[in-house]
């Protein structure tokens, strides 16, 4: 016993140490992380964000230097808070809450205190920063907008939030990310890749040289410049024309699918979302729930297309062989399909064949064609699905697949849709129940860019390229191959001729709905639309003034531009949308505007009164 006691104690001590070491070194890995945190500092080297150019090489977006006040909370020593707040020009409560947030994020990693100082603020502050341990000024680069338009196309730059950091470990607190538009879509290309430097620190938090001979360090990759398909002149002109109106303009180049202009109205100056005023301005835009300037109407707005849809009804009718170009169909002020009241029509000559039917936009004609198309099949279900099949080949009823981060599917109803709606087979439904589809009302919904795409498809006589906004990346034509695939429709080429004739007649026929806005010297084909629409006021369905819609392409042969103009509550398609479309086409093809009277009228026209009506709380009249 006396001999063995110390031996026993030594062995027990050895076992205890083995256990403790196992716990510290193997079992509990929190020490591993702590060690990295406290001995190695990570410094990021942010590359310049790529520039953005328009199709003609005009610079749209570049960079400007900006200075952020950053803090590493654990290094902060006692300081005169009041004096410091005065220096930073912020309230003490704000300062306290900023510091609390920084502590919560990480005591050892930098967090922003005041982002984006102006140059003069920086100058006065930089001299005094040495007095405040733990605070420093970091130079960053901010967007510098060379244009005051295209905010919806370009998107903007925002600080990453916790959700993004959690989802994408590339980003750290206080870093920037593209939000919306091409900034978001081409984020990884524009931003490049940040470089990382690991720096060994000592216990006083001083840098004592690179960590492990820079073995883990990486150099930054500069962001690549991108060239957009946007024509800055056309885009700016479009935004000017849409002032005091709501809606949008989409212009495509039919031969390539390139987006020439993507105007959403109302719009705002992209520079509003840069610098210290950013969050104030953003809040203002975000909470404008009436005009919704952040809502991209051309990509996200789902509207009934109205009469332009008649071109598609004609094409499907011809393809299905239920009508030919010669047959005349009479109209007695409407189409009686057995409902309570007939599908109304306006006054025009009667009977009309296809070309004049399109030019005069006769509802009865298209209702007849649509009904024959559906009733060609044994059941309306088969008929609807076959009809839908033709439409989806135009890129309708689903996401179009363009390279912008937002979008909507629109709606081309399936037979299932009606079966569910009418509770088939408990109740049966027949073609007349869907008759409004024939004239682009009823269930059919499209986004303006989808409308522009089907217009481009007609202009191409039966095929389209997926709309896209990227033209070159880093100065090289390396756009994704999916934008070079030719999408054919289910309609035979020969059927497009008569329909295009009809669309041409809309301008050239003296009775055509757009006859008054012809452009001398350019052969335009187009179609007006006046789309009924409804809203809810206090839970009640209320009809508002019709949307003014116009689709067009020009010139008739070898078309260079296909355009959709959508003006919310603008009433007749010929009142607002058709003049705007003709001005856009003239601007793009000729470069100058000859019809200055029309231009002035559109530029000065305002629909604000119309938009105020549903919010006035008083009864109002529509379609004046």
């Amino acid at each position: 016993m006396r001999k063995l006691l110390l031996l026993f104690i030594v062995l027990v001590t050895g076992v205890i140490f083995a256990g403790r070491l196992f716990y510290l070194q193997i079992y509990d890995d929190s020490f591993q992380r702590l060690s990295e945190d406290n001995a190695v500092k990570i410094v990021y080297d942010y590359p310049q964000r790529g520039y953005i150019f328009d199709r003609n090489g005009n610079l749209l977006v570049s960079n400007q230097p900006s200075y952020d006040v950053m803090v590493i909370p654990k290094d902060v020593k006692a300081l005169d808070t009041l004096e410091f707040c005065r220096l930073l020009n912020i309230e003490k409560e704000d300062f306290v809450s900023i510091m609390k947030k920084a502590w919560v994020y990480s005591p050892r990693l930098p967090s922003p205190v005041i982002p984006q100082l102006t140059k003069s603020e920086y100058a006065s502050l930089s001299e005094k920063m040495y007095k405040y341990d733990g605070f420093y000024i970091q130079k960053r680069s901010l967007r510098d907008y060379q244009v005051n338009h295209s905010a919806n196309v370009l998107g903007n730059i925002s600080e990453v939030n916790e959700r993004i950091i959690k989802r994408n470990p590339y980003y750290q607190m206080g870093e920037l990310i593209g939000v919306g538009g091409v900034e978001q879509q081409y984020e990884t290309i524009l931003r490049g890749k940040k470089g990382v430097k690991y720096i060994q620190k000592d216990k006083f938090n001083r840098d004592i040289g690179p960590y492990k001979q820079k073995k883990f360090d990486t150099l930054p990759d500069r962001g690549k410049d991108i060239t957009l398909t946007i024509d800055a002149v056309l885009q700016q002109y479009g935004e000017e024309l849409m002032i005091n109106k709501r809606g949008g303009i989409v212009a495509l180049e039919p031969s390539t699918g390139e987006i020439l202009a993507l105007v959403a109205a109302p719009n705002f100056d992209p520079a509003l979302l840069v610098g210290r005023e950013r969050s104030k301005n953003f809040t203002k835009l975000y909470y404008d729930t009436i005009a919704k300037p952040l809502f991209d109407r051309v990509l996200q707005g789902e509207y009934p297309p109205g009469s332009p849809f008649k071109a598609l009804t004609s094409l499907i009718g011809l393809q299905e062989g239920v009508i030919d170009t010669e047959e005349r169909i009479s109209c007695r002020g409407g189409y009686n399909y057995g409902g309570k009241k007939p599908l109304g029509c306006h006054a025009h000559r009667s009977p009309l064949a296809m070309v004049d039917g399109i030019a005069n936009s006769c509802n009865s004609y298209f209702a007849t064609v649509y009904r024959r198309t559906i009733d060609k099949y044994a059941t309306p279900q088969e008929g609807i699905d076959n009809w839908r099949n033709h439409l989806t080949s135009f890129g309708l009823g689903n996401y179009l697949g363009y390279d912008l981060p937002v979008g909507k599917k629109g709606l081309i109803p399936t037979s299932d849709y009606y079966n569910r709606y009418y509770q088939y087979p408990k109740y049966k439904w027949y073609t007349p129940a869907t008759i409004s589809n024939s004239i682009g009302q009823g269930e059919v919904l499209m986004t303006p860019i989808q409308m522009a795409n089907f217009t481009a498809t007609i202009a191409n006589r039966g095929h389209y390229y997926r709309p896209h906004i990227i033209k070159r990346i880093g100065g090289v034509d390396t756009i994704p191959s999916e934008y070079r695939i030719k999408h054919e429709t289910t309609i035979n080429k020969e059927h497009f001729g008569p329909v295009i004739d009809g669309l041409f007649g809309v301008y050239e026929d003296p009775h055509g709905t757009a006859h008054r806005v012809r452009v001398p010297g350019i052969e335009i084909c187009g179609k007006t639309g006046t789309a009924e629409n409804y809203t809810k006021i206090d839970g009640e369905r209320v009809q508002l003034t019709d949307h003014s819609v116009f689709v067009a392409f020009a010139p008739r042969d070898n078309p260079k531009i296909a355009i959709t103009v959508f003006v919310e509550n603008g009433y007749w398609g010929s009142r607002w949308a058709a003049p705007i479309a003709s001005l856009m086409i003239e601007k793009y093809i000729k470069g100058t505007i000859s019809r200055t009277d029309l231009e002035t009228k559109v530029l000065n026209g305002s629909l604000e009164e119309e938009y105020a009506k549903p919010h006035s709380g008083e009864p109002f009249t529509i379609n004046q």
Binding site: G14, Q32, S35, Q200, D202
Partner: protein, 419 residues
């Protein structure tokens, strides 16, 4: 002379363990002290180069110790003991103050710490006294004298102040126990420590309740079997509570704040990783970040950043833990356990009582250093500034342990002489 040398046989296992520990120790001192100021490898302003010099001189010292007749150590033990006591006392007059402790003699630019050598001297003196034919460790007077031999150097060292080095003298309780000291002394020591920690954790009232409850429990448990007198229990309770009160008094009035802090941190009463607990916290981080195989020699980020204080001396084990990982740290632990067990084994086979007591003393001193130092750096024990034998940087320490160990190697080598 021919027959004499034939019987001298040194224990090569012990020597090998010594070489491994000193060698691996230097490798880690090199890493811990590495910075960019060195002009050449043999730049003697550098810590690792100085240590290399101490190691070289140790070899000469070893040769010298082994060359002397083993009888010398027994015969002159009293004189060696007295000289070392004088050296310790002399510190109060001639000592040099480093980091608040007057534990060093300055000889030119070098310093010498006599307390490192006093351990060996005390072990010799204790061996001499116990092995005296007159001495009986079961007699109170003899026990008292043995305790005095140990207590005198310890009491001189405490006010220098260097309570850590003084604590090491508790190691001598093991050889004394081996030579016949009653088990009660060990038990008392253990109880005192338990009451001490208990008082700090529970406070005086809590501890008093715990003591009374425990005593009552034992009392009634025993009374169920046969009638038990209550008086001894009452005395035991009174003594324990008295001790508790005195602990409370000593802790709050005699201890300095830094001592109190060290205990409070280990006992988890305070958690202040930025201030007082910084040492322990940083050393745990350094060791813990090593993982299985460590970050590689001279690659430790904590070591390079000098986060751990006194990393070349008392905290050298953190470098082992960080750069060599669990594997390297366990190698060191196993080497120490092997060495101590080997020494115990050798001590048991000694023919002379003097050698046995001395061998036991060496094993016990190494054990206390090993247990307290590694216990401290791994956060199991309060911060007590004592070095890890053979590992920590410092000439006096290395020489002190070398002398301590090799006198025993010399004694063991002559073991056969007596047959």
């Amino acid at each position: 002379m021919n027959t004499y040398t034939r019987y001298v046989k040194f224990d090569w296992i012990t020597i090998l363990l010594y070489v491994l520990l000193v060698g691996f120790g230097w490798v880690n001192i090199y890493s811990a002290s590495l910075d960019n100021t060195a002009t050449s490898f043999f730049d003697f302003t550098q810590v690792y180069a100085k240590q290399l010099l101490w190691i070289g001189l140790s070899i000469a010292l070893v040769v010298f110790i082994l060359a002397i007749d083993s009888k010398f150590y027994e015969r002159f033990s009293s004189i060696i003991y007295l000289v070392s006591l004088l050296a310790l006392v002399g510190l109060f007059v001639f000592g040099k103050n480093i980091n608040g402790a007057t534990s060093w003699y300055a000889i030119g630019s070098a310093t010498l710490q006599p307390s490192e050598f006093a351990k060996a001297a005390t072990a010799l003196a204790l061996g001499k006294y116990i092995s005296d034919i007159q001495t009986n460790m079961k007699e109170f007077g003899h026990q008292l004298r043995a305790f005095l031999i140990i207590a005198i150097p310890a009491l001189i060292i405490i006010p220098q102040p260097d309570p850590g080095s003084a604590l090491v003298y508790a190691a001598f309780i093991f050889p004394m126990y081996r030579e016949g000291l009653h088990f009660v002394f060990l038990l008392l020591g253990f109880f005192a420590a338990a009451l001490f920690v208990g008082t700090l954790l529970l406070g005086v009232p809590g501890m008093a309740i715990a003591i009374v409850l425990t005593a009552l429990l034992i009392y009634f448990f025993k009374r169920r079997k046969r009638k038990t007198r209550w008086a001894p229990y009452a005395i035991a309770i009174a003594t324990c509570i008295g001790f508790t009160l005195s602990v409370n008094y000593v802790f709050n009035n005699v201890f300095e704040q830094r001592h109190r802090d060290r205990f409070n941190i280990v006992l988890g009463i305070e958690d202040d990783s930025k201030g007082i607990g910084y040492n322990t916290n940083q050393s745990e981080i350094a060791i813990g970040s090593g993982g299985w195989t460590g970050k590689g020699w001279t690659q430790g980020t904590q070591t390079k950043g000098n986060f751990v204080p006194a990393q070349q001396t008392d905290y050298i084990f953190t470098t082992v833990g960080e750069e060599w990982g669990f594997v390297g740290a366990m190698v060191v632990v196993i080497l120490f356990v092997f060495l101590i067990i080997r020494l115990l084994f050798l001590a048991e086979r000694q023919k002379s009582q003097f050698s046995r007591v001395y061998g036991y003393s060496v094993a016990a001193i190494l054990f206390i250093h090993f247990a307290v130092n590694i216990g401290m750096v791994t956060g199991l024990l309060p911060t007590v500034g004592i070095p890890l034998p053979f590992f920590s940087y410092g000439g006096s320490g290395l020489w002190g342990f070398t002398i301590l160990l090799f006198i025993f190697v010399r004694l063991d080598g002559s073991n056969y002489y007596y047959t």
